[in-house]
């Protein structure tokens, strides 16, 4: 039993990588999907706005990438990407899991809420294409919190790498 517990460190590390990737990924796909629906509606009337609405659709896509980034950093730290798997203690694996939480949750929710701003921004651009710059800033405000979460996740994953437990 003790041995099983000790070996489950890798499992928790992997769980963390998976969690960061899929939670943020789900959030982004919901967000990009919502914005995409609004963008497609615009295209039926004003196809020349494609370039502009595409940018709005892509805004909530970044959270998924942040999740991927953290997931990748964890996989790389525990040696799952070639180079042989290290022995990971249960505590260390759980730490990786904890480190994935900020981007998993902040990414999930911020992508969804950012997409609402994006949809509204698409509405703005349809009526006033020259107000693109301002309309773009509003969804970007939401993303701030995903970036802050990403920062903590990255710093934590990097920090855990050096911890001897």
């Amino acid at each position: 039993m003790a041995e099983l517990l000790n070996n489950s460190g890798l499992f928790f590390a992997l769980l963390g990588a998976a969690f960061a990737t899929f939670m943020a990924g789900i959030g982004s796909s919901i967000g990009v999907g919502k914005a995409g629906v609004a963008a497609a509606g615009v295209l039926s009337e004003q196809p020349d706005l494609f370039g502009k609405v595409l940018i709005f659709q892509l805004l909530p896509a970044t959270q998924g990438i942040y999740g991927l980034l953290v997931g990748f950093l964890i996989l790389s730290n525990v040696g799952l990407l070639g180079g042989g798997v290290e022995d990971i203690s249960l505590l260390k694996g759980s730490l990786y899991f904890a480190a994935s939480l900020p981007i998993a949750f902040a990414g999930f929710f911020s992508a969804i809420h950012q997409s609402k701003c994006s949809v509204a921004g698409i509405g703005t651009v349809v009526k006033k294409p020259d107000q693109m710059g301002k309309a773009l800033i509003l969804p970007a405000m939401v993303e701030t919190y995903a970036i802050l979460a990403l920062l903590i996740s990255i710093l934590a994953v990097n920090g855990i790498n050096g911890v001897q437990v």
């Binding site: 892509l58 970044t62 970036i147 990403l150 990255i154």
Partner: protein
């Protein structure tokens, strides 16, 4: 860091030159005409809306004609044609084309009427086709379909739903009207949907038979041929080929106008320009023989225009300093900062009581963009792509040109940061030499090893550096606030109350923070305790100034203190502003790590031929996606740092953009000599 001086311009001239002067102003595009509202015994205003509507209609005629033309004649349009911009015409070319406009307009009308003919003929064709479909089952009928019988007989020509035999029909009829005899049912055709029949009966029984037929589902065809169906078929086919001929004829007429596509574009532009001139005419005041025009003109353009109008049209031109607040704003910056004007424009133009921050913002803009994108390879791709476009398409529209130049500088900055951080398409050089050459990569500083340090290995140092840049950025913003106080409002004390106080408070706070033990872990260094004392004193002085003077416009001392305390609460704003610069680290890491991921995936197929092909494919697609998504992120978040953190410290905006009366066309511009 400048705004052009605006002058108010007055033009007085004879009415007979009005058209020419407006044309000249439109071509030069240096005057913003202001609506002059004088109506008295001498001056009056013409209503030109009828003309405007008429010319607008002609412009849309040209557009429509060209749209129709493009349906029949394939027009060449390159992938990069949107970069080309409008074609420039010389004065002679322009005048020549203007002479041709009546002919081109006739062609435009002709094209539209041809298209109308085509549409009518196509509609007719559909009608005949439908008739043909209806009479097709009746081909073996040898009387016209409206045949009702002879003197003694009555004929019923019609159909039953579904497939029926003559026996069935006869039986069904016999069941309803057993007393009637001598009903002749002739089968014309039948399929699973309908059965077409010719029924003959004696005239005396006609009513009973008609009634019975209706009861068993008999109905007349929806189209009844007045002649024998075979003959009608011939007629219809003749009509159809006739219509086809007419359609082809009209199409050929349209196609023969293919070479006029460019001229139709000109026609559209010509009438758009004309409409706008008439709109401008609304803004001037005319008397019986003269007119007055007023507006704004940037100072450098004033002299040339005055000379031109006075010598060519005998006009009288006067200028005066535009001092009012609603005078429009035109920015003037050096080559390096000018592209960033478009970023400022998306926020707001400066008003007349503040400096144009473009040149200072541009420096930070390029730095921040480069740090977030931070890859030498990506920066090179971006800078080269922009440079090639700029060199290849000289006639590019000014707005697009500015963006291109801005992204060129962003690309340059990205390349420099990439070299400092040792990122060239991520770790592409290392991966390629390890996977395909099985050797350690050559030690090229910048491409393999960082010139400065690698943020992925040492994120804390990068974080500290980001905060440092943020503090510089914010303090620069405060400095501009102070500059505005001194230069535009002559309010020297406000500099102490609103600028220096914050320098002391925030600067002192940071100094004190750096002496704490915990900084040893985070930043890797601490300052000696004496700095803490100095910082504390500085912060305290700053705080006291803010407490007592932030609410200085209130007379009531209690409200004033309360406002001061609220001002102190602004410290939290500075804290979150500084933390916000951590995005420089986060987005920089995102670019680098994702690039590394793609390189890793690319190298997973080994070093065989398949491995090389896979690597190249994954490299191109992966880095392409990464460039797209991270350039977007860098652009948006650089804007945010400027708009929210930087402008929030000093910038009010609200100025009106200088929008001169000029040629606002889609396809052509006219070159102005001299």
């Amino acid at each position: 860091m400048a705004m052009l001086k605006m002058q108010r311009i007055y033009v007085y001239a004879l009415l007979k030159y009005c058209k020419d002067i407006l044309e000249a102003l439109q071509r030069r595009g240096v005057v913003e005409i202001e609506n002059l509202n004088i109506e008295d015994s001498v001056f009056f205003k013409d209503d030109t809306s009828a003309y405007q509507a008429q010319y607008q209609r002609m412009a849309s005629t040209a557009t429509e004609a060209n749209e129709i033309l493009s349906r029949y004649v394939k027009q060449k349009k390159g992938l990069l044609s949107s970069f080309k911009g409008r074609k420039q015409l010389s004065r002679e070319e322009y005048d020549k084309l203007v002479d041709e406009t009546p002919d081109i307009l006739r062609i435009a009308y002709d094209i539209i009427s041809c298209q109308k003919n085509i549409d009518t003929n196509k509609a007719e064709k559909i009608k005949y086709q439908a008739q043909l479909d209806i009479i097709r089952p009746w081909m073996s009928l040898d009387v016209p379909m409206n045949f009702t019988g002879t003197a003694t007989t009555r004929a019923f020509i019609g159909k039953f739903p579904g497939d029926k035999t003559t026996t069935e029909i006869v039986t069904e009829l016999a069941e309803i009207i057993p007393e009637v005899e001598g009903i002749e049912v002739e089968m014309i055709s039948h399929d699973s949907n309908q059965t077409c029949v010719f029924i003959l009966t004696s005239r005396t029984d006609a009513d009973a038979v008609s009634d019975a037929l209706r009861r068993i589902g008999f109905e007349y065809p929806s189209y009844i041929s007045p002649v024998i169906p075979k003959q009608r078929e011939k007629e219809i086919n003749k009509h159809l080929s006739n219509r086809d001929g007419r359609i082809l004829e009209n199409e050929n007429v349209i196609k023969s106008y293919a070479k006029y596509a460019d001229k139709l574009n000109f026609l559209e532009d010509y009438y758009v320009m004309k409409t706008e001139r008439y709109a401008a005419y609304d803004d001037i005041a005319t008397s019986r023989n003269t007119f007055v025009l007023t507006g704004y003109i940037p100072e450098p353009d004033a002299g040339g225009l005055k000379e031109y109008l006075e010598t060519t049209f005998d006009a009288e031109v006067e200028f005066e300093e535009a001092t009012n607040d609603d005078a429009p704003v035109k920015l003037k910056n050096n080559k390096f900062a000018e592209p960033a004007e478009s970023v400022l424009a998306t926020y707001s133009y400066p008003d007349h009581h503040e400096a144009d921050p473009t040149s200072i913002m541009a420096i930070f803009y390029y730095i921040f963009f480069g740090m977030m994108f931070s890859d030498a390879g990506y920066g090179l791709v971006m800078a080269i792509a922009c440079a090639v476009c700029l060199l290849k398409f000289k006639g590019m529209e000014p707005g697009l040109k500015r963006s291109m130049k801005m992204f060129f500088w962003c690309g340059v900055s990205t390349t420099i940061w990439g070299l400092l951080f040792g990122s060239f398409f991520g770790d592409a050089v290392t991966v390629i030499s390890n996977t395909f050459f099985h050797t350690a990569p050559p030690n090229i500083p910048g491409l393999v090893t960082p010139i400065w340090f690698n943020p992925v290995d040492d994120p804390m140092q990068m974080l500290m550096f980001s905060f440092l840049l943020g503090i510089i950025h914010l303090f620069t913003g405060l400095a501009i606030l102070g500059y505005n106080y001194i230069k535009y409002q002559k309010d020297y004390l406000a500099v102490i109350y609103d600028v220096i106080s914050w320098y002391l408070l925030v600067g002192g706070g940071i100094l004190a923070l750096l002496t704490m033990d915990m900084m040893e872990n985070i930043a890797g260094f601490t300052l000696p305790p004496i700095c803490g004392t100095i910082g504390g004193i500085m912060a305290a002085i700053g705080a006291v100034i803010i407490l007592f003077f932030a609410g200085r416009e209130s007379k009531n001392p209690i409200i004033r203190l309360a406002k001061g305390a609220y001002g102190l609460y602004g410290t939290t704003g500075y804290l979150s502003d500084i933390l916000s610069y951590s995005r420089l680290l986060a987005l920089g890491l995102a670019t680098g790590v994702i690039a590394t991921v793609f390189n890793k995936i690319g190298s997973m197929m080994g070093d065989g031929v398949i491995g090389v092909i896979a690597f190249i494919l994954i490299f191109i697609i992966g880095h392409g996606v990464n460039i797209g998504i991270n350039a977007l992120g860098a652009y948006v978040h650089t804007n945010r740092l400027q708009f929210v953190e930087f402008f929030g410290k000093f910038y009010t905006g609200g100025g009106k953009e200088f929008k001169p009366f000029k040629i606002n066309t889609k396809h052509y511009t006219v070159k102005e000599e001299n």
